[in-house]
Amino acid sequence: MLITCPYCGPRDVIEFTYQGDGNRQRPQPASQDLDAWNAYVYERLNPAGDHNEIWQHSGGCRAHLKVVRNTLTHEISSAAFARGDHKSGARHKAEGKS
């Protein structure tokens, strides 16, 4: 399985570390919304098909990546930097701008 790192190019999966389900939305640290925390910790889509995932190119440039992997075929249909997107996404949510 190859993942095409947006910085390093195509690399063997052995260079990458799985960082978990990319669909999760972490509540704000001070949040007391137990349902939101429960969803963050336990709820998974577990799809048979395309799955949003977070991987780190730990054996290369060490960037965190948003990867779409097909759980049936292991086909990687996209890999992009997770950085800017997640940062701004979290901030927008906190400010209530969606």
């Binding site: 910085y7 390093c8 690399r11 052995i14 440039c61 060490r62 960037a63 950085r83 800017g84």
Partner: protein, 210 residues
């Protein structure tokens, strides 16, 4: 950033501790392996005086690149993993917004201190933390291809460019510093083990240690 003494008070030579090579017990100059029909790779330790890692905050990459040019005189080509070398100093990108800068001379961190300001990014002096190993010769690509799952061919890995990868969990930064020459930066604590493996891998082609 740690406090450092001003250059006026002490010369860089006096400030910096002596470099000790971790390869020393395993570095045996001369020809080895299957060299009867010629030596196809040359292995050496380049012992640069300075190895720095520079990182730009998001949005400050251009400032950092221009600072690198100011201090070293080296221009970074556009694109991921781009780099250049003039034989004395070398620079290459190894991650988004991050660069390794190497100088034969010691004290490069001092020269960057006023250039990489806290507003632009960070500077980490790895001069004693990394060991630089050079592999050169017609079979350098061949030997490295046994170690790393990346494309070493010149069109895919141009002169001056850098790559971050690893061999059996030993993280390595590799820069192409010649048509058939590569400089490999590994953690100092793993360097001797890596060196021994590199020697074994070079036996079949015949190698010389300089």
């Amino acid at each position: 950033m740690a406090e450092r003494q001003s250059p006026e008070r002490q010369s860089p030579e006096r400030q910096l501790p002596e470099h000790l090579s971790p390869l020393e017990p395993a570095l045996h100059p001369g020809s080895h392996g299957n060299f009867e029909h010629g030596v196809d790779v040359i292995l050496s330790e380049t012992k640069p005086g300075s190895i720095l890692q520079l990182a730009a905050w998001p949005g400050e990459e251009k400032q950092l690149i221009s600072g690198i040019r100011t201090v070293t005189g080296l221009t970074l080509p556009d694109g991921a993993g781009g780099g250049s070398t003039n034989g004395v100093r070398s620079v290459f990108g190894f991650a988004p917004g991050k660069f390794t800068v190497v100088d034969e001379a010691e004290g490069l961190a001092l020269a960057f201190a006023d250039v990489v300001t806290p507003a632009i990014g960070t500077l980490t002096d790895l001069s004693h933390g990394r060991t630089a190993i050079r592999i050169a010769g017609p079979k350098a690509e061949w030997v490295l291809a046994k170690f790393f799952a990346i494309d070493f061919a010149l069109p895919a890995f141009p002169l001056g460019a850098g790559r971050s990868t690893n061999h059996h969990d030993i993280f390595a930064q590799i820069q192409r510093t010649g048509a058939d020459q590569f400089d490999i930066y590994v953690f100092r604590s793993f360097a001797r083990s890596f060196w021994k493996a590199l020697c074994h891998a070079s036996e079949e082609v015949g190698y010389e240690v300089q």
